[in-house]
C-alpha cells in the first residue's frame, strides 16, 4: 500500500539524515576539541590575563585594567622593539622572496627531468631540523667559529670579531636560511598551477619572454608571493629560539623574547599576555589583508 511505503521511505530518509549528521559530528569532534581546546581556550585565557592586574611574582589579580595595554603601546622601548621585530620580519620576507623566486621559476619552468629531485631536496632542507640549522649558523658566525677562524688565519684580523654574531645581521641570515625552503615551495606550487597553455597563448599572441613574464607569469604568481611573504613575516616576527640563540642573551632582542621574559622571569604574565595580543592582532591583520588581496586578484 502506498501509504505504508511512503512512511517507510520517509523513515529511511529521516533516519539516514540523522545518522549522517551524527557521523559528521563524531568524526569532527576530536579534532575540534583539540584545536579548539588548545588554541581557543588558551588564547581566551591569555586575553583575559592581558586585562588583569599583575601582583608581582607571577600572581594575577583579576580586576579589569587597561594598564598593560597602555604601557605596552606607549612605552618607547616596546615600540622600538616592535619595530625591530616586525622590521626584521618584513626584510626577511622580502629577502626570501627575492631568492626564492628565481629558484622557483627555474625549477617550475626550465627544469624538467631534475624537477622532482630539486623539489625533494627543498623539502628535505625544510625538514632538516630548524634547530640544527640554527646551531650551524651559530658555529659559522661565532667568535670561535668558521668565519672568524678563516679571517684570523688569513691574517685579516687579530682578534675574533663579534659583530657578526649576536646582532640583527646574524638573525637575518639565519631566518632567511630557515624560511627560504618554504617560500620556494609555495612559489613553485603557485607556478606549477599555471597551465602550460596560458604561456603558449601569450607567445602565440606575440609576447616575448620578458613581456610574458611581466604581464602573465608575475601577476598570476602574485598570490603565491603574498602568501609566502605573509607566512615568513609572521613566523619570523614571532620567533623565539633564533633570537635567543643568535641574538644575544638579552631579553630585548625580539618581541618573543620579551614576552617570554615577562612571563617566566619577571613574573608578569599580564604584560606578557598584552604584548602577545598586540602581536596577534598584527598577524591577523596581515592574514586578513592577504585574504582580501587574493579575492581582489580573483585567484
Amino acid at each position: 500500500m502506498p501509504a505504508a511505503s511512503t512512511a517507510a521511505a520517509l523513515g529511511g530518509n529521516r533516519s539516514a539524515r540523522r545518522r549522517r549528521r551524527l557521523t559528521i559530528v563524531v568524526l569532527l569532534a576530536p579534532a575540534l576539541v583539540i584545536v579548539g581546546g588548545a588554541l581557543l581556550i588558551p588564547t581566551l585565557n591569555l586575553l583575559v590575563q592581558s586585562f588583569a592586574q599583575s601582583l608581582g611574582y607571577g600572581q594575577i589579580g583579576y580586576d579589569f585594567t587597561l594598564s598593560n595595554y597602555t604601557s605596552v603601546l606607549t612605552d618607547p622601548l616596546y615600540r622600538s622593539l616592535a619595530m625591530r621585530s616586525f622590521g626584521l620580519g618584513a626584510v626577511t620576507g622580502v629577502a626570501c622572496l627575492v631568492l626564492a623566486y628565481p629558484v622557483a621559476f627555474y625549477v617550475s619552468f626550465r627544469l624538467r627531468r631534475g624537477r622532482n629531485l630539486a623539489l625533494y631536496l627543498v623539502v628535505l632542507s625544510l625538514f632538516a631540523s630548524y634547530l640544527v640549522r640554527l646551531y650551524a649558523w651559530y658555529t659559522v658566525l661565532g667568535t670561535r667559529g668558521m668565519i672568524n677562524g678563516a679571517l684570523m688565519s688569513l691574517g685579516i684580523v687579530d682578534q675574533p670579531i663579534s659583530i657578526i654574531l649576536f646582532n640583527r645581521f646574524s638573525l637575518f641570515i639565519a631566518f632567511v636560511n630557515i624560511f627560504l625552503p618554504f617560500s620556494i615551495l609555495m612559489l613553485t606550487s603557485t607556478m606549477q598551477n599555471i597551465p602550460r597553455e596560458i604561456i603558449d597563448s601569450a607567445h602565440d599572441l606575440g609576447a616575448g619572454p620578458v613581456k610574458t613574464f611581466t604581464r602573465v607569469v608575475l601577476p598570476l604568481t602574485m598570490t603565491g608571493l603574498i602568501g609566502a611573504f605573509a607566512y615568513t613575516f609572521i613566523l619570523t616576527s614571532g620567533d623565539y629560539i633564533t633570537p635567543a640563540l643568535l641574538g644575544g642573551a638579552s631579553a630585548n632582542t625580539a618581541l618573543a623574547n620579551t614576552i617570554t621574559d615577562q612571563l617566566l622571569t619577571q613574573g608578569n604574565p599580564p604584560t606578557g599576555a598584552a604584548i602577545s595580543f598586540v602581536m596577534l592582532v598584527v598577524f591577523f591583520v596581515v592574514y586578513y589583508l592577504v585574504g582580501q588581496l587574493e579575492r581582489f586578484k580573483g585567484i
Binding site: A31, L99, V103, V132, G149, N177, P181, Y231
Partner: protein
C-alpha cells in the same frame, strides 16, 4: 642558427641557493667527526669520539627516548584524529565546511610561541603538572594541521563513487572503509604520519614551554648550546638530523608528490 653562449643566470642562482641551504648543515655533520674541538678549518682528522660520548651519556639517551615516546604517541593520536576529521570535511558537505577547514589549519599559521605560551598559561591555571604528557598535547596541536592537510588533500582526489560501488556490491559502511577507502588512501596516510613524526621530533618551541623536568633531544641541544661550546653537540645535532631525514625519506616511498 648559431647558438650564443648565454649565461644561465637562473641555474647559477639556483645552485647558489641550494648551497646556501645545505652548506651549514653539512658543515655540522662534517665537524661532528672532527678530532679537535674546534669549529674551524683545517679539519684535523676523523674520529667517532664525540658519538661515543653522546651515546654513553645518560642525559642524551634519556632525551632521545623521551623524543621517541612523545613522537609515537603524538603520531598515533594525530593519524586517528586527523583522518576522521579529513573524512568528515571531504565526504560530507555542510554549512561552514570551508571555514572549518581553515580553522583546523590554524595552528600551523601561528608562531610556536603563542601555542606554547597559551598552553602553559592554561596548564598553570588548571594546575596541571608539566610533563611529557603536556608536551605531547602541545605537539598534537602543532602537528595535527599538517597531517590534516595531507589527509584532506588526498581525500579531495579520492573518488567517492568508489565507496558507492562498494556499497552497491554489498559492503556495509565499516567494510567499505576497511576494504576500499583505507587501502586506497593508506600510502598518503603513512606519508603524513612520517611527516608528523619528523615534525614532532624536531619541535623545540612549544616543548620549551610545556616541558617539566625531562628533556627532549632538541631541547638538550638548545640548552647545551646556550651554556657552552660542547663539541659533542655536533654529534647530537647530526643524530637529530638523521632522525628527521629518515622519516622524510621513508615518507617519499609512500607518496608520489609531497607538494601541498
Amino acid at each position: 642558427m648559431r647558438r650564443r653562449f648565454r649565461i644561465p643566470w637562473l641555474l647559477i642562482i639556483t645552485i647558489l641557493v641550494f648551497v646556501f641551504l645545505f652548506a651549514p648543515i653539512l658543515l655540522v655533520v662534517l665537524f661532528s667527526f672532527n678530532k679537535t674541538a674546534s669549529l674551524t678549518f683545517p679539519f684535523h682528522g676523523f674520529t667517532l669520539r664525540w658519538y661515543r660520548e653522546v651515546l654513553s651519556s645518560p642525559t642524551f639517551i634519556s632525551s632521545i627516548w623521551a623524543s621517541v615516546r612523545v613522537g609515537l604517541i603524538t603520531v598515533a593520536l594525530t593519524v586517528v584524529i586527523g583522518t576522521l576529521a579529513a573524512l568528515a570535511v571531504t565526504r560530507y558537505s555542510f554549512p561552514g565546511r570551508r571555514a572549518l577547514r581553515t580553522f583546523l589549519l590554524l595552528p600551523a599559521a601561528l608562531p610556536g610561541l603563542f601555542m606554547g605560551m597559551a598552553l602553559l598559561s592554561v596548564f598553570s591555571v588548571a594546575q596541571v603538572r608539566l610533563s611529557l604528557w603536556t608536551v605531547t598535547a602541545g605537539h598534537l596541536v602543532y602537528v595535527l594541521p599538517y597531517f590534516f592537510l595531507v589527509a584532506s588533500t588526498r581525500l579531495d582526489r579520492f573518488d567517492f563513487l568508489l565507496e558507492e560501488s562498494a556499497r552497491d556490491l554489498g559492503a556495509g559502511p565499516w567494510t567499505t572503509l576497511r576494504r576500499v577507502t583505507l587501502p586506497i588512501i593508506g600510502p598518503s596516510l603513512i606519508a603524513g604520519a612520517l611527516v608528523a613524526f619528523s615534525l614532532s621530533w624536531d619541535e623545540v618551541m612549544i616543548t620549551y614551554f610545556t616541558i617539566g623536568n625531562e628533556n627532549t633531544l632538541p631541547l638538550v641541544i638548545y640548552s647545551t648550546v646556550k651554556q657552552s661550546i660542547d663539541p659533542s653537540v655536533n654529534a647530537v645535532s647530526t643524530l637529530l638530523l638523521l632522525g628527521s631525514l629518515i622519516f622524510l625519506v621513508g615518507a617519499r616511498r609512500f607518496v608520489a608528490d609531497l607538494q601541498q
